[in-house]
Amino acid sequence: MATKADKIHNILKSIEPPEFVNPKHQAVLRGQLNEMVANKMLQEAKAGHAPAQAREGRRMKAWKPALAAGIAGLLACGALLWLKFHSAGDAFAKMPAFSLFREACAAEESLFKGEGIVSIVNEFVVKPISDPELARIRRYPMNSLAVSGKLRYDQLSLPAKPGEGYTVQDRAWYDQQTGRFARVMTVGGKAIFANSFDGTSVYLIEPDPAGVLKVVSKPVAADFQPPRNPAEFMGITAGLGRSGAFVEKKSNLISDAGEVTLPDGSAARVVRINTDTTGMTGKEMKDMKERMGDSYSLITIRKTDNTIAQVETVIQGQSYLVIRRLAVAPASASEVPWNLAGIEAQPVSAQTPSAPSVNRIPRIEPDDKKTRTNVSVQQMAEKAGYEAYIFAADPPWTVERHIDEIHDPILLPALGYMTTYCAKDGRHVVFAQENTLPGTFVQGPLAEKLKLVRVYASPNGFEVWRLPKQMGPGLLQAARTWTKEVPLADSAGYLIKTPAGTFPMLAVNGALSDDELHALIDSLIPAKEYLKKFPASDATGAEKTGTTSP
């Protein structure tokens, strides 16, 4: 019986508890509570003046009860009015940070709901930082309207040389009545990105085969609908994802960061949004945070109208990128470049690795699910946008392989791929890759703090470092859909530098000998090469078994 009980324990541990949503009941109960809140406020208001009211009542009771009741009523009304004014004056200062942020997102959306045409001017201030790797990979998620009429994710790439910075001007116009819009981002007066809809066609500047930015346009289909929420692709919250969903999911990461006075003398509150690390636990992770310094965003919200004045990204305690709201004003139709005519794009010579640009993430639409399971090697090779790798031979102790495509525009600006090799003995292998952050673990000041130990340099050009203890289980945790097991606390985790300059991570649910590690690393090959080597071996995958999950 003991073994069966253990089995029950293991099953219970491995199961993801079901998650239920019930917005209808939530709304009903909210209504009930609001009513109770209103009643209680009334009682509180009355109670606050009860002694005076009682005294008045006692004195008058003998001769004019009606007047006494009237005065008591007036006192209660006065208290309510006081309460109303008092709370209106203090509402901004007292509002919890996540409610304030929610208000700010709503205020941002409301900018696009007024009559006439609104013009919004923001600037992206790329701050000088000394870390070359952090300076190189700086980017910001954004959306644009593709000529197909669908929204798609882009990355605003903002690289700079160490110690250097620059400013990107971001102008947007929106006509609420017709859905027409234009957005032009410039550096030194030359466009690095432009996108518009003039009511009949969608315009976009895109690089031609020679890399020269040119305006392309396409008439929209008869059933074309302009995007419903312009704040998703214009304005200061456009990079934060769908604001409502964002704040609901991340409310536990939002906190108050104090009050400030803006350069124009107006008052504002600052809300801090910490990096989401759902699923990470343990003291070691806390230690790691201390070693790596703080990384978060600061949202500055105006007291006058709850609009966002500034969004600042801080990495390792350094200001990394500041997006500032410069102006919001009505505009006339004649001043808007609805068809991008006259927009001068950046010349090819300026499009150097350290110059800003907008990079497309191919075939990704906001409607796409965040995780696409069981994609094929071919899909990974074609869609990654960087050199994706795979083991030429599956680890010998494993029995099945699954490749998941992961897309989270906030945490993971590029497409990520997680290959899970399941083992019968529980020694599962997870190989995860994308093309952004982990490089900073081994290059630059962050690396000096982390002091990762290099454990292998392979003859085919890979370098391998052992990751801090909690990273292996963290990665395996992400693969539980396939492994169906809680990761072992002592799972091995490694960071790999590939010859292509990407930094995948490897985790094994258990110990890995040096020989096994070397064999695995030596067998890594580009996915494209794998396809040439094993053309018939990729029959499985999304085409055959693909499923999606949000």
Binding site: I11, P18, E19, R30, N252, T277, L412, M505
Partner: protein, 204 residues
């Protein structure tokens, strides 16, 4: 993977949450409206706890409503020094569910009534994350959950709190108002009961 690559500690977020709650509770005492912020944040957790324990939509809705109404009424009795707001809320929900189970056991039940597993309605409530789980996993979970529903309330609550709500034994003890040893015993005994009831259905 995104989680694994992220930087900051979840512990910090949790500490942050406790601070936010303490501040909101403090505000809610003088300005009742602050309570609605607590409600918005904790509704999903409490409703899920009630669903996972009862697997009955109507009961879970009643339990959730009663929990929040009681919390609202009794907010002045909450002492942040003695524990987190989340723990306090779970304790109320647990007591509400115990009352529910007690009442039901006094009523003359039709055979198997306690096992009401309104599958269609329950399925409609499933969030997108759960819907995306492999069918095989969902089935196994449903089998196990049906067996959990046959346990007496003390065992059932311990199992749900520990395995589904991911509470530590210490937290469960605080929520259920008993000692850690009692929690350990209940979990141990509940696993044996489940093993007995699921004999032959465990697979492998």
């Amino acid at each position: 993977m995104a989680e694994a690559m992220a930087i900051l500690s979840c512990e910090a977020a949790r500490e942050n949450r406790v601070e936010i709650d303490a501040e909101l509770v403090r505000k809610a005492r003088t300005c009742a409206k602050a309570f609605t912020d607590l409600y918005e944040f904790y509704y999903p957790g409490i409703f899920n706890y009630a669903m996972r324990t009862t697997m009955n939509v109507s009961v879970a809705e009643d339990v959730t409503s009663e929990t929040f109404l009681k919390a609202f009424e009794g907010l002045t009795g909450f002492d942040p020094e003695k524990g987190s707001f989340a723990g306090w809320l779970y304790r109320i929900a647990t007591n509400v569910m115990r009352d529910h189970f007690r009442k039901r056991s006094r009523e003359a039940l039709r055979e198997g009534d306690e096992l009401t597993y309104d599958l269609l309605r329950v399925k409609r409530m499933l969030g997108p994350r759960t819907m995306s789980q492999p069918a095989e996993q969902l089935e196994q979970h449903q089998r196990l959950h049906k067996a959990i529903l046959t346990l007496k309330s003390a065992y059932r609550l311990a199992i749900v709190l520990h395995y589904f709500e991911r509470k530590s034994q210490k937290e469960i003890a605080a929520i259920m108002g008993c000692t850690v040893l009692t929690v350990r015993w209940r979990l141990h005994h509940a696993r044996h009961l489940l093993a007995g009831r699921l004999a032959g259905n465990l697979g492998g």
